[in-house]
């Protein structure tokens, strides 16, 4: 069964402490600590010993979505202080030099990008990224995948081809401005088409910008989707293509 939870950035943008407090009232097994701006990373890492994360069996860390080339080595050094078991979600377009990430490459979960980016969006583009980071895992953002290809065929192919890498999913509506929003009925139907291909071991992190009252509702929507029958990829299914 997939572990479900929220990104702290979706609950309280830039205020991880507030988000963790709000989420503590709910019964989620997973959480993503979000530091989307580089200046948020250090304070978040420094406060880790004081954060109450004991109820979570899955914790990941979302690295900044953009940073300067001169900040890259410093960022990798900061991120290497995180517990080894926490996947580090990273946008591939943010990377300046792949070799700087080698030391923590096995802990990275490369995220597929939205349509504003010109790399890391499709299977083909991600295969190029993974050539540089062969040991890295993946965070599949279903909202991004749907924005890139509303037919969901690309999402299906991402799930199939990268099944062994996928450690986490992001779910939310992604609107035409590429902002994360509450999952619409149309997105719910689209996600349901591929939910059977989501590896049961992967954590599902909601990025929907919800208010406090909507937290459980949104999670229940996703839970219902994930309760549909599953396909576990194996040699037989791969051989048909």
């Amino acid at each position: 069964m997939n572990r479900i939870g929220y990104s702290t950035g979706a609950i309280a943008l830039g205020d991880f402490a507030k988000a963790i407090t709000l989420l503590a009232e709910h019964n989620f097994q997973a959480i993503e600590l979000s530091a989307l701006r580089i200046e948020e990373v250090e304070p978040l890492i420094e406060s880790l010993p004081r954060l109450d994360l004991g109820n979570y069996t899955y914790i990941s860390f979302h690295a900044p979505s953009a940073f300067g080339e001169h900040e890259e080595e410093y960022l990798v050094k900061l991120l290497s202080q995180l517990p080894d078991s926490w996947p580090i979600v990273l946008h591939p377009d943010a990377i300046h030099r792949f070799d700087r990430w080698t030391a923590i490459a096995g802990r990275l979960a490369i995220e597929n990008m939205d349509q504003r980016k010109n790399t890391g969006r499709s299977v083909r583009e991600l295969q190029e990224i993974f050539k540089h980071l062969p040991n890295s895992r993946m965070c599949l953002d279903l909202g991004h995948a749907r924005q890139i290809d509303s037919s969901m065929i690309e999402a299906y192919l991402l799930l199939k081809i990268f099944s062994s890498r996928i450690v986490q999913l992001h779910m939310s509506e992604v609107d035409t401005q590429s902002r994360h929003a509450v999952i619409s009925r149309a997105a719910e139907m689209a996600f349901a088409q591929v939910s059977r291909f989501i590896p049961s071991s992967a954590a599902v992190i909601l990025e929907s910008r919800v208010n406090e009252r909507e937290i459980d509702n949104e999670a229940e929507k996703v839970q219902a989707m994930l309760s549909l029958a599953r396909v576990e990829w194996g040699p037989a299914s791969l051989a048909t293509h």
């Binding site: 037919s151 065929i153 299906y156 035409t176 088409q193 293509h241």
Partner: protein, 311 residues
């Protein structure tokens, strides 16, 4: 521009381009429509002109903007105009994106989903032969449309370019129809075991089926024909004739003097012109080879053609 792809069709997409070829293209829009699209489209036209490439034909089907809405929503019915049918069919059969492919891929995928998911018979457990009829019928319709439009162009253009169009109809136009048929047949042929096939072709698996079909249509028509005929066509000699005839046809199109002669011939000169007679002979070899493979019940492709490609 976001939500757009520059898409090329014809010989460029088939990877058969030569200096005499036209460049058929469109700016495919799948998203917000903004007035600036026309400026981009004009700029593309200008840039191609600066490269001294031949512009698209005069019908207006290419060389402008195409919105995805009608492509996806108007399959059949009164709103499915000749231009819409042409763009849609060629988007599946012979097209390539130049630059950002996102809009291109999305529109093709959504088209395939429509053809497959609305093909109710395809998903029935009692249908053991898994050939997508909706798509196949549209490919067949487009092939006949091309043949009828050939006569219409002859009527409108007073035989200008008649011989060249005639040879293209016999060869490259026929090739893309054949590749369309083969893409549909491969859905069935790919899984020899009936049980495996029936398990695969279920409605909830339609994305996998669409991905399989897309994989066939992503190949150039020649590649798809080669792969399919060598695997399922039998008739080794005819398969070789099929491709050698096509190769000879490409040789004629690549020879600028022969191409020009064909382009300028008038119908009354056809019988006596050696260039046209040579091209016609090649087209007969191509047809003969295709007939012997596709209309013989001794091979899998022939059986499916006889069953689905005629009536």
């Amino acid at each position: 521009m976001p939500d757009t792809s520059l898409v090329v069709f014809g010989s460029l997409a088939r990877e058969e381009f030569n200096p005499g070829s036209d460049v058929d293209w469109t700016l495919l829009v799948d998203g917000f429509t903004v007035p600036e699209h026309i400026f981009v489209a004009r700029q593309i036209g200008e840039e191609l002109k600066n490269l001294c490439l031949n512009p698209p034909g005069v019908t207006g089907t290419f060389g402008n903007i195409t919105s995805s809405h009608n492509l996806v929503h108007c399959i059949g019915g009164e709103d499915d105009t000749n231009a819409n049918t042409t763009r849609r069919s060629l988007l599946l059969l012979e097209s390539r994106p130049i630059g950002d492919s996102q809009a291109f891929t999305r529109v093709r995928n959504n088209l395939l989903r429509r053809y497959l998911e609305e093909d109710l018979g395809l998903w029935k457990a009692s249908t053991t032969q898994k050939v997508p009829h909706f798509l196949l019928n549209d490919f067949a319709r487009y092939w006949r449309t091309m043949a009828v439009d050939f006569a219409d162009k002859q009527h409108d253009r007073f035989h200008e370019g008649f011989a060249l169009r005639n040879i293209k109809l016999r060869m490259s136009r026929k090739l893309i129809y054949i590749s369309g048929l083969l893409a549909c047949f491969r859905c069935h042929l790919e899984m020899e075991d009936e049980g495996q096939r029936l398990r695969f072709f279920t409605k909830e698996n339609s994305l996998e089926v669409a991905a399989l079909l897309r994989g066939f249509l992503d190949k150039t028509p020649l590649d798809l024909c080669a792969e399919s005929l060598f695997r399922f066509g039998g008739h080794e000699k005819q398969v070789m004739d099929f491709f050698s005839a096509y190769d000879e046809f490409l040789g004629i199109l690549s020879d600028d003097s022969k191409r020009q002669v064909l382009k300028n011939l008038r119908p009354e000169q056809l019988e006596s012109d050696s260039g046209y007679c040579e091209a016609r002979k090649i087209s007969h070899k191509f047809r003969q080879a295709a007939d012997e493979i596709f209309l013989s019940s001794d091979n899998e492709i022939g059986k499916l053609t006889i069953k689905y490609g005629v009536f």
